[in-house]
Amino acid sequence: MAAASAAARMLSDGGADDEERWLAEGIAGVQQNAFYMHRALDSNNLKDALKYSAQMLSELRTSRLSPHKYYELYMRAFDEMRKLEMFFREETRRGSCSVVDLYELVQHAGNVLPRLYLLCTVGSVYIKSKEAPAKDVLKDLVEMCRGIQHPLRGLFLRSYLSQISRDKLPDIGSEYKGDAESINDAVEFVLQNFIEMNKLWVRMQHQGPVREKEKRGKERNELRDLVGKNLHVLSQIEGVDLDMYKETVLPRILEQVVNCKDDLAQVYLMDCIIQVFPDEYHLQTLETLLSAFPQLQPSVDIKTVLSQLMDRLSNYAASSPEVLPEFLQVEAFAKFSNAIGKVIEAQPDMPVVGAVTLYVSLLTFTLRVHPDRLDYVDQVLGACVKKLSGKAKLEDSRATKQIVALLSAPLEKYSNIVTALELSNYPRVMDYLDTATTKVMAVVIIQSIMKNTTCISTSDKIEALFDLIKGLIKDMDDAQDDELDEEDFKEEQNSVARLIHMLHNDDPEEMLKILCTVQKHILLGGPKRLTFTVPSLVFSALKLVRRLQGQDGDVTGEDVPATPKKIFQILHQTIEALSCVPSPELALRLYLQCAEAANDCDLEPVAYEFFTQAFILYEEEIADSKAQITAIHLIIGTLQRMSIFGVENRDTLTHKTTGYSAKLLKKPDQCRAVYACSHLFWTDDHDGIMDGERVLLCLKRALRIANAAQQMANATRGSSGSVTLFIEILNKYLYFFEKGTPQINNSAIQDLIELIRTAQSDNTEADPSTEAFFSSTLRYIEFQKQKGGSIGERYEQIKTSS
């Protein structure tokens, strides 16, 4: 009854939703027959056991289930068959039936599928009994299974055979090993099973209507591991050593892979081979393996498989450095290189991204296996250039990403950028990037330098470097950089600014060359970039000046060594370029820095010239009040430190400076600048200026301005305004008083103290901070009195209490 309904189901036709129902019915059928089978087993009724087991197995004759569902049904049957197998074993051991007889008996089952399942099961027992050599039984079984040509059923049947035979292969160390030749038999068995299974699997593709092709592909995918398992078994056979793999196993597998002409199978199986067999085998059979690639179907995505192989071997090399010599011995790089070349040639329509991905894998491989062979690395880049040549700049973003990966790999590997700079093809690859990506790559390069704190120390290397990062240095021809985010632009340029400090050589001659090279490039940057790059160059140059201080600077000419004078010429040129931005405040600061440096080099004319430039900027370009205040203090501060000027030059400059100070917009600012100027006329150094007259003049002028400020405050606001300025001036008086400036005497100070006191008491609004300032100043005077000695004496004359 069960058989009949099974048969009926076999022939019926229905939709996919019915599958659940059919599966349920199938499982029910299995369970029902299993029940009767168990009853037969319990009563040692062999005949009935065979009958019901055959019926149970008949459920597997169905054509209506998808692979996924068939598998469920199969597993039910499989579990039951295990019990049957145990029964068979008992029966034959007891002697109630010989295994040979049993083997013959099961072949009487009506339908071929149940018959073969039973046969395999008995076969397992037969091998275990050792009444016949394993190889003979296995050979018989693998042949017999040809009886099922239906792909799905055949695959599962053979999978069953594979499962039960797994532990019974005549391998070395196995109890079933026969003579010395039996390894071959084991291998042959598995290979046969594999080949037949693959054929069945491929045949599935051509079953059914064309419109269901996609569905079939999906179903085939679900079954692929059944086929692949055989390769796994092969890899586990102890007796399969490298030689056997090389001579027999691999060639046979590849033969099947190529001949089946099915792209799904080819991709999967190639991948399987790579995953399942050890890396050292792959290394030793590289030629064979690679020669299969061009023979595969054109629709097969060879690049992915090739990449996987290379990546696997890359990892192998990385994890076990001791195998590196082997790589060299088998000439792995050359083989891969050629293979890739052939693949690319064979597929002229391959999209760029595909080709570049291959090169990325090859490059990764090369960097891991042959890091010292820069020529190999360059070769890979060169091959890539060749593929890209003739095409316009890349627009495919995935291809671009791959190129960035290609170019970043050497940077990461070689922490010293100089190595990457030696790759002649590196810039040529970069040429194919679009402008935006060129800049991205440039930033990557700079970051690599900064991260590794590499110093680049020759001008030709720097020239090469600037060529690579030219996207950041200047506007590229087709650039429409208006869309560029301001923040991003700043970051870019700041990274270039930082980079400049990594360009250094201890040898002054070379360093000068470096400065010239950098200058040449950054001057191409245009107004947008100069404010970022010029300061870095200037300070780098000033550092060199300091190192060369003391060397003669009067000779000009080509072959003369680096001198401060030469560098000052470069500095002058460089800072001048800021006028096109325009950036007068920055330029002023830089001119003043140069002036100080020139002072330290005893170059009076040069220092004077820098001051001139600074003053011109102050007069003509700096109009903002706040900017003027800062600028004037910088001028005063710098000038105060100048020791090199002769009287005339000095007078001109101080005169101008005090003039500017008095002309600042707000009176308090004027006052402060003017009293700051007092320091221009007094140095502690006895070789320097000590002009007490001029000091006093300044302080008095400051007082006048402070007075005027007070009056103005009175007039406009009614209150007398802050006395802070007076207290500041008082402090300055004390400063020079202490220094011993003869023109500053205690009466002037006393008057000032009284003035402040009066003003304070007049003030309607008390100002705590001013009061505190005054108190602490008076406290200072008292403290100085305590000091005793000449200081104490001098201060003694000042009365702080009213």
């Binding site: 400090h501 300070f539 100080e596 800062t630 105060q640 802070t724 207290i727 200072y780 100085q784």
Partner: protein, 190 residues
């Protein structure tokens, strides 16, 4: 115990590419309560980095700072101490201790932190203490030759402040410390 980091004159990117690696590894977020910075960072990235170390960040304007909005001077109170901050290019002669003392009186602070010369100084005078943390990157200075990277960490505890100065000399970080105590009045003594 309040930790205050004082540093400045980094001059990134004009004169130095970055803080020394050894300093960077020492300066971790969450350990410091306040940062006072004399100025000349010079760019926003440095500001953001300092802010990541400690959110309570005080900066005064240096003449090369990108952000023109930093104040010329700043005063703040930490524990029992009043601190004043100023870059120092505004005080002429540069680095002159008497002139700086005047600024200190004017700001009415116990501790004046100032920079510009790129040279570490911790100087006590009648009116208080003047501290110059030097240049954290060892940047070029027209005033000081052979600048070693340095910064200062102040440990303020009640009426006592311990000033630790960290200097990078020949690749090694050297630490020195100076103690200052303040009496109940505003005068300070070492």
């Amino acid at each position: 115990m309040v930790l205050v980091l004082a540093l400045g004159d980094l001059h990134i990117p004009h004169r130095a590419p970055d803080l020394p690696a050894k300093f960077k590894s020492m300066l971790v977020p969450g350990k410091i309560q306040h940062i006072i910075c004399t100025g000349n960072l010079c760019i926003k990235e440095v500001h953001d980095y300092l802010k990541s170390l400690c959110p309570d960040l005080h900066i005064t304007r240096g003449e090369y700072d990108e952000d023109a909005r930093y104040p010329e001077t700043k005063t703040l109170t930490i524990g029992q101490f009043k601190l004043g901050l100023c870059h120092g290019h505004q005080v002429v002669p540069w680095g002159d201790l008497d002139s700086l003392a005047m600024l200190q009186r004017q700001l009415d602070v116990d501790i004046l932190v100032t920079g510009h010369t790129h040279q570490f100084k911790a100087y006590k005078h009648e009116g208080g203490v003047v501290i110059n943390p030097g240049s954290a990157t060892g940047a070029y200075s027209s005033i000081t030759y052979d600048v070693n990277p340095s910064f200062v960490l102040m440990d303020i505890d009640g009426l006592r402040v311990v000033v630790y100065v960290y200097e990078l000399i020949d690749g090694e970080v050297k630490v020195d410390k100076i103690d200052f105590k303040k009496t109940a009045t505003t005068t300070m003594h070492a």
